[in-house]
Symmetry: C2
Subunit: 301 residues, 2 copies
């Protein structure tokens, strides 16, 4: 496995692979790898000839009061883990390489970026799409891998690729969870023992919503109320949002039909965690029959 720090070197490497007709799989990360990241790299290793993983804590996607400085970093550990799952190249540029003084070009996906996390983290997705556009231009991947954990991010990136005619296929991979159900996240290490225990209530709330939808419930206010009740409630905890939206447009839905994304973000002390579940609600089989009470089929992502 090779460590590349310079943009120009990475670009030259990618160009060489391309000329040889080799396919490139790309896993962009902010490092401090967990099994979620590694599952993306494993898939890339199955699909493509060369696996490139970027490790870069992108300052542009952090708000001024967010955890950019505190975000965990451990390149040596990451390299050890990445080597084991088939990563061929780690691209780990420095900030001054990625954003030299005077950088002023931004890629923005309007609408999709505005709800859910976009509402509480203004500018976040603009930072994400800008860095991903840069990384795609540097790495030239045939396929890039994103986790469903960051559902809105993945959707925003798919839309960017589509709208800007980028020559990269986006593959979304399922959420990897700890054995007790907590979605894996580099930020989980911030949690105290008590917060870690209470954070389990996120997945619990999502499973409750899923079960209600399976039972045919369609009153969104009721579903959200039940979710809120099931999320651990302490003075230092705060629900940022619970959203029930169309999985593609990320817009609220009047009728719960098709692929529905239930997403939430909750603060446990100083740590903001996100999680989500996609439920596929079949349209009524016989047109004309009333909607409520129809059979529904659900899937976890």
């Amino acid at each position: 496995m090779r460590l590349v720090k310079k943009i120009k070197s990475m670009q030259n490497l990618s160009n060489t692979y391309k000329r040889k007709g080799r396919t490139i799989g790309f896993v962009p990360t902010m490092g401090y790898l967990h099994q979620g990241h590694l599952s993306l790299a494993r898939q890339a290793d199955r699909d493509t000839d060369v696996v490139v993983m970027s490790i870069y804590v992108n300052p542009l996607q952090f708000g001024p009061r967010e955890d950019f400085k505190r975000y965990p970093r451990d390149l040596k550990r990451d390299m050890r883990l990445a080597a084991r799952v088939g990563v061929d190249i780690i691209f780990a540029p420095e900030d001054k390489e990625m954003y030299p003084q005077g950088h002023s070009t931004f890629v923005n996906v309007e609408k999709l970026s505005e709800g859910l996390c976009g509402k509480s983290r203004p500018g976040h997705f603009k930072g994400v799409t800008t860095v991903i556009a840069k990384l795609f231009n540097i790495v030239h991947p045939d396929i890039a891998y994103f986790g469903q954990k960051d559902a809105q991010q993945a959707r925003v990136i798919e839309k960017m690729v589509e709208d800007l005619n980028m020559n990269t296929k986006i593959k979304m991979m399922p959420i990897i969870r700890e054995s007790d159900g907590l979605a894996m996240s580099s930020r989980n290490i911030y949690l105290t023992k008590e917060e870690r225990k209470d954070a389990l209530s996120l997945y619990r709330a999502l499973k409750i919503a899923e079960a209600m939808l399976k039972e045919g419930k369609s009153n969104q206010r009721e579903i959200i109320a039940r979710m809120k009740k099931s999320i651990a409630n302490k003075p230092s905890y705060r629900i940022d949002y619970i959203g029930i939206v169309d999985a593609k447009t990320l817009q609220p839905k009047r009728r719960l039909e098709g692929k529905v994304l239930i997403a939430l973000a909750v603060w446990f002390g100083k740590t903001r965690l996100i999680d989500n579940i996609v439920v596929n609600i079949k349209k009524p089989a016989c047109p004309g029959r009333s909607y409520s009470g129809q059979a529904r089929e659900t899937s976890n992502q």
Copy 2:
């Protein structure tokens, strides 16, 4: 010469050329070709193996009250002209191909896009950079050619390419003028006979400014006043702006040193024309001597 209308076909063609190791030169245009465009294609033909010219009147870069509908279009004539100067592929997509319903991703170069034309045409450069980002992703050019006529546009695109690490070299080519000095533009056909005559005053004003700088004049207000006086003045004419800025940053300069861009936009009736000149002002040879009165060297772009 081949006419391609579909994005996917163009992408496949470019990929094939790339795999064969052939270089692609790209000339993006809005059609209604004049000698300026053709000079770009000729240069591309000298530099690269395959010359792609796009002909697309990009709705995104026109304001709601601008001349999008009226903009001259003549694909057959353009194809005849392009074939003569070595163009191999004309890429002429339709609007619904470039901006299908729901398109919502934009590329924006902040700061550089804000002054000069950006001030009177809000959103114009966002439209330009978005379409050029798309076209670059479709055509994958090794070198793309832009005319110095649209000096701010060329500079904004250079900055986008640099900031987003795009794998394309930008080549800026000099303004091509009619024998009497009027900068070639597809919009010149809008002009009445009288306006056409009066439009010559643009280049005259630029030459006056250049001469003043050569003489060592450094009072920008004085230079602009002299330019204004020399521009044809009729009730239906209106100076949009005259700018003296740094040719790279497009920001006003307190001291006229280095490469200075003098740019202007003037309405002749319903037609807005732009023109510019770059003057290279040498720094004082001996430090310590006062600036005014130093020798200056100028160049026309």
